[in-house]
Point group: C2
Chain length 274, copies 2
């Protein structure tokens, strides 16, 4: 299986690429990882200019010899190219699986909206740097290369529809030209490095956007690396999620094992087979 | 003129209240400042529970002996009570001016949407703590108490319609039940203490929400106290604003003198008289 790797937001570390390359060589002989040089470009905050990041993604997505696009890393910036990317895709793009999370949610959401290929939230190349990162990355490769379901989020239910996003990413996508239809879906969200007042604000925004839109419910992934504020916020991330879900008449369906951590899992978008 | 002061988000400092009280005593003998005790309540992050903050605002807004509500301070949290607040307002609330900025944009926007009273973006009680804060606060009091236009944002044009918001606050309001109709308006936004990638993300979201909605254009206030990121972002706040406005076909109309600083000015919502 030939897997294309590009970085639509921020640059990948060369050491990270080398470590995942070595891991794949050793444990996934059926997988060939093709790192686009764009992964290592630098342009201010980004892994290259908008045009360079767009071109790299579109080139790989339209390459009929690749079976999947595995995103290298998040950061911020794929929203800047998502709409143009989707409109530039050709037939081979529809045959692929697209795997990543965090900022890559803009692209996954855009592709899901457009019905192009299969999308999944899951660990990326950059996660190799976490403690226990080899196991984290293996969840994605097991699923992608071998169809092994052991790396899937443990409580996905056959027959239910899912989509999983970083909370900020999904909140920013609402109301935009790249927002997918999430009616009939269990929406899983996670957040990292945001103050709890920001998490509260994002839940306000997200639940206002999803109210009356027929989502099955919301599950809450990890909310971690919360910065310390000058005073304690007064409620937990889960209390925040429950509160806003209740206000909007959206079912709160409990926690989920996804997030910016070694414990991140794979969540394929759409209907869970069973 | 009797002016009610409450704090729908976070608590006001008692020293700040005392300093503004003394300033008003000395320079604005026609103004009577009535501080609601709720200004000093503390409940986790907030100046009291949602119910306490809601009750204080509604009580003052519905008080026929008060001519204006001057918000004490922003922070975060007025979105949590804005919708319920507006639906609890009675006839005396429609006769008032409401003045504040930052997080108070949720309430100003809600009131503007509902057509209740007159709203203005402008300095609050808490701004007394800035260097030169007496002049800052005086811009609000001059305008509120004496109708003196010298504290207005310098480039407001007679006959144009305006609304001014914190960028994050307006971005979070889009698509919600409290979002006002900004068609035909020059929308002024400012931001504080956000990374430039966050400013970029917020402009993506805001311009996607306003695209095709008939806004006259966007002006950019101060974007200050930007945290240092691990690498320079690569474009300025104004370049970000220009870029996203151009992508959405929204006119970018230049800078404006509002923001989280001593240089903040008053921007009355709606049509500028002339």
């Amino acid at each position: 299986m030939r897997i294309g790797i590009c970085a639509p937001a921020t640059p990948l570390g060369k050491d990270q690429a080398a470590a995942v390359w070595a891991l794949a060589e050793r444990y996934y002989p059926d997988a060939e990882l093709i790192f686009h040089p764009q992964c290592f470009y630098e342009h201010g905050h980004y892994a290259g200019t908008d045009q360079q990041r767009l071109d790299a993604f579109v080139q790989m997505a339209n390459d009929p010899t690749l079976e999947a696009i595995w995103f290298a890393k998040g950061g911020y910036g794929s929203n800047r190219i998502a709409q143009r990317a989707v409109s530039a895709l050709a037939a081979p793009a529809a045959e692929k699986t697209y795997l990543g999370y965090s900022d890559m949610g803009y692209l996954l959401g855009s592709l899901y909206r457009a019905g192009i290929g299969r999308q999944a939230h899951g660990p990326m190349v950059t996660d190799i740097s976490r403690e226990g990162g080899a196991d984290t990355v293996a969840r994605s490769l097991d699923w992608l290369v071998r169809g092994d379901p052991s790396g899937l989020e443990p409580e996905l239910v056959a027959g239910e529809r899912y989509a999983a996003f970083n909370l900020m990413t999904l909140a920013m996508m609402t109301g935009s030209a790249i927002m997918p239809d999430l009616s009939g879906h269990i929406v899983i969200v996670e957040e990292v490095a945001e103050y709890l007042y920001s998490v509260d604000r994002l839940f306000f925004h997200l639940t206002q956007a999803l109210e009356g839109k027929g989502v099955t419910g919301i599950r809450l992934g990890l909310v971690n690396a919360v910065p310390e504020n000058d005073r304690p916020f007064g409620s937990s991330a889960e209390e925040i999620a429950r509160d806003w879900c209740a206000r909007s008449g959206i079912a709160y369906l409990g926690r989920a094992e996804i997030g910016h951590a070694a414990s991140n899992h794979v969540v394929p978008f759409g209907k869970m087979p069973g």
